[in-house]
C-alpha cells in the first residue's frame, strides 16, 4: 500500500489500562470490566451519564475514542471498526431475558445494543461527528482490511480523517485499539506500522 496518509494518534484499552500514543493515562488494579469502566469514566470522561446506559462494547469504544477525540475540532471523521465477537456479549444478555416463555420481558434498552455498529453511533453522538462508518467482524485484528478501507475513504474525500481499529468485548475479556488516520501525523499509515502500534501494549 502506498503511504499517502499518517496516523495522528492512537489509544489502547486493555488490562485495566487506558493509554494514548503508548503512554498510560489511566490505570487500575480492578479486573472486572464494570469496575474498570466506571473508574475510567470518572477520570477520563465525566459528565456523560448516558455512558452507564450503554452496553459493554459501546462503553469500551467510547472510552477508547474519547481520549483521541476530546479535543478534536474536525467533525467529518469516518469510522472503520472491527472485532471478533461482534455484539455477542450483549446478545447473550438479551437472549437471557427472553429464554423463559413464562418470564418473557424483553428489555428495549438491551435490545437496541444488539448490533456491533451501535458502538460507532454512540461515539458519533458524543462527539457530534457524522460521516461514513463500517464495522467488520473478523477472527483477528487485520490492518490490511482497515488500512485499505480508510485510504479509500480519504482518497474519495468522504472524510477528512478516519477513526479506525479494534474494539472487542466478550465475557469480561476486552481489548480496544483505535487510531486516527489523517493527512498529517506522527506515524506512517502502513500495515506494518499499524500492526506495530497495535502490539505496543499487547507485548508488555
Amino acid at each position: 500500500m502506498e503511504n499517502r496518509y499518517y496516523i495522528e494518534s492512537f489509544s489502547h484499552v486493555n488490562n485495566g489500562i487506558v493509554s494514548v500514543n503508548g503512554t498510560p493515562v489511566f490505570k487500575t488494579l480492578e479486573t472486572d470490566f464494570k469496575s474498570v469502566m466506571k473508574l475510567a469514566y470518572k477520570q477520563l470522561i465525566v459528565d456523560y451519564p448516558k455512558f452507564f446506559k450503554m452496553d459493554n462494547l459501546s462503553k469500551l469504544g467510547l472510552l477508547a475514542a474519547n481520549v483521541l477525540l476530546r479535543e478534536e475540532s474536525e467533525k467529518n471523521i469516518a469510522m472503520v471498526f472491527s472485532n471478533r465477537a461482534s455484539s455477542l456479549d450483549t446478545d447473550r444478555g438479551y437472549q437471557d431475558s427472553i429464554k423463559d416463555a413464562t418470564q418473557y420481558y424483553p428489555s428495549p434498552a438491551v435490545f437496541v445494543y444488539t448490533l456491533a455498529n451501535i458502538c460507532m453511533g454512540e461515539i458519533s453522538i458524543k462527539h457530534k461527528i457524522h460521516s461514513e462508518n463500517c464495522f467488520f467482524v473478523m477472527d483477528e485484528f487485520s490492518p490490511e482490511t482497515l488500512s485499505s478501507y480508510a485510504a479509500e475513504l480519504m482518497d474519495e474525500n468522504k472524510a477528512k480523517k478516519v477513526l479506525c481499529g479494534w474494539v472487542d468485548v466478550d465475557n469480561e475479556k476486552y481489548d480496544a485499539f483505535l487510531y486516527v488516520v489523517a493527512k498529517k501525523g506522527t506515524f506512517v499509515h502502513s500495515d506494518a506500522e499499524i500492526n506495530r502500534l497495535y502490539k505496543t501494549t499487547h507485548e508488555q
Binding site: P49, F52, K53, Y105, P106, S107, P108, A109, V112
Partner: protein, 85 residues
C-alpha cells in the same frame, strides 16, 4: 397513596435505568422524570412500560399513555395503586 411504593419506584428506576450517581433521596416525588428532571429518554420510557408489566402486572395497551403516567413518581404511584393486578 403509599410512600413505600414511591420509595420502591425510585429504587427500581435507579437500578433498572442505570442512573449512576443518583440516589432515591435526590428524587422528589413531583420531580419530572423526563426532560429537565431525571433526563430519561424514549428507550427509558419503554423500559418503564416493561417494568409496569413485569413488577406490577399492568399492561399499557397504548404506549402514549405513558406520557401522563410517567410524569413523576407521584403520577406513577397513583396509576399503579389504581391499576395494580
Amino acid at each position: 397513596m403509599s410512600s413505600d411504593l414511591k420509595q420502591e419506584l425510585k429504587k427500581k428506576i435507579i437500578e433498572q435505568l442505570n442512573l449512576e450517581d443518583v440516589t432515591a433521596a435526590e428524587i422528589a416525588d413531583n420531580d419530572p422524570l423526563f426532560g429537565d428532571g431525571l433526563g430519561l429518554d424514549s428507550i427509558d420510557a419503554l423500559e418503564l412500560i416493561v417494568m409496569l408489566d413485569k413488577d406490577y402486572g399492568i399492561k399499557l395497551a397504548d404506549p402514549k399513555e405513558g406520557r401522563k403516567i410517567f410524569e413523576s413518581i407521584d403520577t406513577m404511584a397513583a396509576y399503579i395503586s389504581a391499576n395494580k393486578a
